[in-house]
Amino acid sequence: MRRNLSAVFLALLIVLSGALFFLQQAAQHRDQAAAGAVALVTVSDLAKLGSTGLEAGLSEQVVGSMMADVLKRSGREGDRFRLVMRNAKQLSASNWPGEAAPRPLKLSEKPLFDLILGLPLVGAKLDPTAEGARAAAPLVVAEQRVGMVEIIHTSQVAGPPLISLLQWAAIGLGVLVIGGLALVQPKLGAWAGMVLPIGAAFVVGQVTGVNLASTAQVLLDNLNTTARAVDEAMRAVAVSNSLALRGDAARLDTAFVAGAVDGAALNTSLLFLGGLGAIIGAFISFGAASSTWRALKENPTAYVYVAPALIGMLALAFFPFLYGFVLSFTDTTLLNQGASWSDRWVGLANYASILGDFNFGGGGAAVNYQNFYWTMGVTIVWTASNVVLGVAIGLGMALLLNIKGLRGVAIYRTLLILPWAIPNYITALTWKGIFHPQFGAINQAIQAFGGQPVQWFDAVGPSFITGLATNVWLSFPFMMVVALGALQAVDEDMYEAARIDGASPWQQFWLITLPSLRPALLPAIIVSVVWTFNMFNVIYLVSAGQPSGANEILVTRAYRIAFEEYRYGYAAAYSVVIFLILLIYGVFQIRATSATEATNK
């Protein structure tokens, strides 16, 4: 009972305080957007007037006083403007109090100068200042941006609240009634902690949506009235200075109001908030919170010991992983890294584009080697062939080294481990040289025996072999060491018994050696599959995916997407797909072989 009550209370507290925060932000944003729109319309008009004036040969001072006149006529003397010219690097006109324009720009005013060429031709809304909304537009003479006018719109606009007090009261009453009912019915009590937060968030979202729809038109009309007043003032000033203005009056459209407060996004945010509240509510009301607390209280030292590792894992493994995962739902690239998450959010589009790419080429056209399924096929063939060869050679070497009475075992073993000990990119570059069509050792050897040199990197097959040879060379020592260790642990008595029973050496190998190696080899193979699947260095350095990217594996492809095409979001989705493939493989492999248990037998 008490638990249910605290669950409901805490969850609702979270949801309501979060909702208040979001609504306050939304209302503030709406007001700022409205003020910004007024500033933008005003500054666009002033820039239009200014450009026309300058093109007609009026001096900057005259243009400046025309601008002041427009503000005065539209009853907006409180708004402050500054006219900055690029060539002269000067502040040509301003109605800021105590400002003596024209004067050269100060060093601290470099941002105003830099803004001139940074602005789009239609002008731009800028970050709001403490004094009010800010916008700027360039003055254009003969298609060149020669200067700009900046305005700070000081009068504040405050729209109606997104949810009125009365509506709040109704929501509160509803919550009380449902909460009370649930507490009276003990069976429902635990669920109330979960359902109430979601319900409250949903209702708040719906009410906001309705209120937004009903106030949007009012807001728009107000803004358009303001815009029209400025426009009329501008035209009047133009006429009195005998200037002919081009173009129509600036008008705000409904898209602007819709954009000022994104009702759908606000709804999603609120629902997420409700979900969070529900999780916390359920966590408490179903008893998980108290059992966690009990565990913490019983073994405090254990948790203290684990804490550094846990924090390290969170910061170094889970956070980047989660970040990459979230990134995979965006279209983040080099050019839009700075934009907000919501602007970059594309949902599952990256995954759809990766997995839904069935353009394989062929039929006259070249094979499409960039296709995901081609690359995945190559990766699977690559992994399988490497592991099979690596295990076969490693096992063979181990059996040879395990021969009783073999002299110089230590030397052989050291030599055979060497490929593993040398950094693999050095080995990879060496092998690349070995496969050089003219100067490489392999083609020289082929020619020495009278053969034709092979253009190793020109066709899919030979190019694949270059990577395969390199990676087998790199991977067999590991298998050899693992197998050798296991071989030496096999009980000699079993072979003796087998010999007495008349088993052939071949039977001994299949029935004694291999089963004894199983517990050691299986985990090694699993690990080796994962390593080979993601063996970036060998592919990237030896064949580099030649020809035409046909021998690229998934991980090198992801690298190219991220760091050669700069599509970070897409590459993140690619990486998640790689992770999922390996995850599925890992789960099935462990299920199928129960490798982890095998060692305990």
Partner: protein
């Protein structure tokens, strides 16, 4: 009435989850670095120099710091490993954790401007006299969409490097080049008159630009499959596959090895080659030959220009600018050239007799006058890998130059469109 410059979006537009993650990410980053609100005791310059270039830069910094002692902050140079430099800049500077200035080549400029908050424009400080102080064309490289962002320091471009013993007179046209190369080449014995990384788009661009092609036209449109580029590619194909003048699979390391073993008489490479070349070879440097097949037009290799940038958000832009101007000025350029072995971009540095009379510097300067700055458009980074792929395809006769470049054009254009679409989506 779209609000074009309002990045960031509204808090309400962010979904709760995304906002939460973004916030925790920012908080984590903020926790990792110190806040840069107050002015640092020194003006920090990031660079990737090592060896003598590093000590030359430090000498310039010390000289400047002594000159302005008491009036402004001293300069502190911080070396950053070359391979991590670009990523470090684009991660640190927009978050206010970066240096006050940094030295980098010009080709990333467009990307930085487009992604914002990385480099500060300098037109406000730059007067006409400053502009005249640089070799012609240098400032174009550090200008993006009409705004200048950095002062050029030095340039690098490929030229013809030859073994004087094997080639007494360097060729002036590709016709002469082919004559000399035919005489000296014995492919079966691994001897070549002329070798260069011809399947590397960077080196090929000299010929492509010479024909009037290139990666982008003046309007910034991709023109990889332009007839001029195809003609340039056909010339290289002829050299390699018809006349058999060039080695197979020419990595830069192979070119260096061939030259050092006196198995290649001439190579196309840049100043960086000089430190790899064997000291026992008497080498000469000449301007790349004119292209007989293109009506004796000169080859126009790509030039990379190293420049000093003002990092966006530096605490005092004017102070930073003053060091940038000093570093790009005559006195510092002369030090960087003489002690750091650089090819200065400053006009005045060439009035120092030791620099003006240096045959290597003069040859590279002459080549530099014909070179074109590598495009600084952000799209350029998307060209490299597909272009190298196309180069390999047609040099190995897998397909014609035309179809290789057609495919490449399609691929790069798609990548550009994807990149641009993301930007448009972010700024609507």
């Amino acid at each position: 009435m779209a609000a074009h410059a309002s990045h960031g979006g509204s808090p309400t537009k962010r979904s709760f989850l995304a906002a939460g993650l973004g916030l925790s990410g920012t908080a984590l980053l903020a926790a990792c670095g110190k806040s840069a609100e107050s002015k640092r005791p020194a003006l920090v310059v990031w660079h990737a120099y090592r060896g003598r270039e590093k000590s030359a830069l430090e000498e310039v910094a010390a000289l400047y710091s002594a000159q302005i002692a008491g009036k402004a902050r001293p300069v502190r140079c911080v070396g950053v490993p070359n391979d991590a430099f670009a990523d470090k800049l684009s991660a640190a500077v927009p978050r206010g954790k970066g240096p006050d200035l940094f030295i980098f080549s010009h080709d990333r400029l467009g990307g930085w401007v487009e992604s914002g908050k990385t480099v500060a424009p300098i037109d406000f400080f730059l007067n006409e006299e400053d502009r005249q102080g640089f070799l012609p064309g240098m400032l174009d490289a550090t200008t993006y969409k009409g705004v200048t962002y950095a002062l050029p320091l030095n340039f690098k471009s490929a030229a013809l490097i030859y073994n004087k013993k094997m080639v007494p007179n360097p060729p002036r046209t590709t016709k002469e080049l082919v004559e000399i190369a035919t005489r000296l080449t014995d492919k079966s014995r691994g001897r070549f008159g002329f070798a260069y990384a011809y399947d590397d788009y960077f080196f090929h661009a000299g010929i492509g630009n010479g024909f009037g092609g290139g990666a982008f036209n003046a309007a910034g449109d991709l023109i990889l499959n332009d007839p001029a580029n195809v003609a340039a590619s056909d010339l290289v194909r002829k050299w390699r596959s018809e006349l058999n003048l060039l080695p197979d699979d020419p990595a830069n390391s192979l070119v260096t090895a061939l030259f050092n073993e006196e198995r290649a008489a001439m190579v196309m490479s840049g100043p960086w080659f000089l430190s790899e070349a064997s000291k026992s070879i008497d080498l000469g440097i000449a301007v790349l030959p004119m292209i007989s097949e293109a009506g004796d037009k000169p080859m126009r290799p790509w030039m990379t220009i190293e420049a000093i940038y003002l990092a966006a958000g530096t605490a005092d832009e004017h102070e930073a600018w003053q060091f940038a101007k000093f570093l790009a000025g005559p006195q510092a350029s002369a030090i960087m050239a003489q002690k750091g072995g650089q090819l200065p971009a400053s006009q005045a540095a060439y009035s120092v007799p030791a620099i003006a009379n240096d045959p290597i510097i003069s040859a590279f300067k002459a080549q530099g006058a014909l070179a074109v700055p590598m495009p600084n458009l952000p799209e350029m980074t998307l060209v490299w890998s597909p272009a190298d792929k196309a180069m390999k395809r047609f040099t190995k006769m897998e397909t014609t130059s035309q179809s290789a470049w057609n495919d490449c054009q399609t691929e790069v254009q798609a990548a550009i469109d994807a990149l641009r679409a993301s930007q448009a989506g972010g700024r609507s």
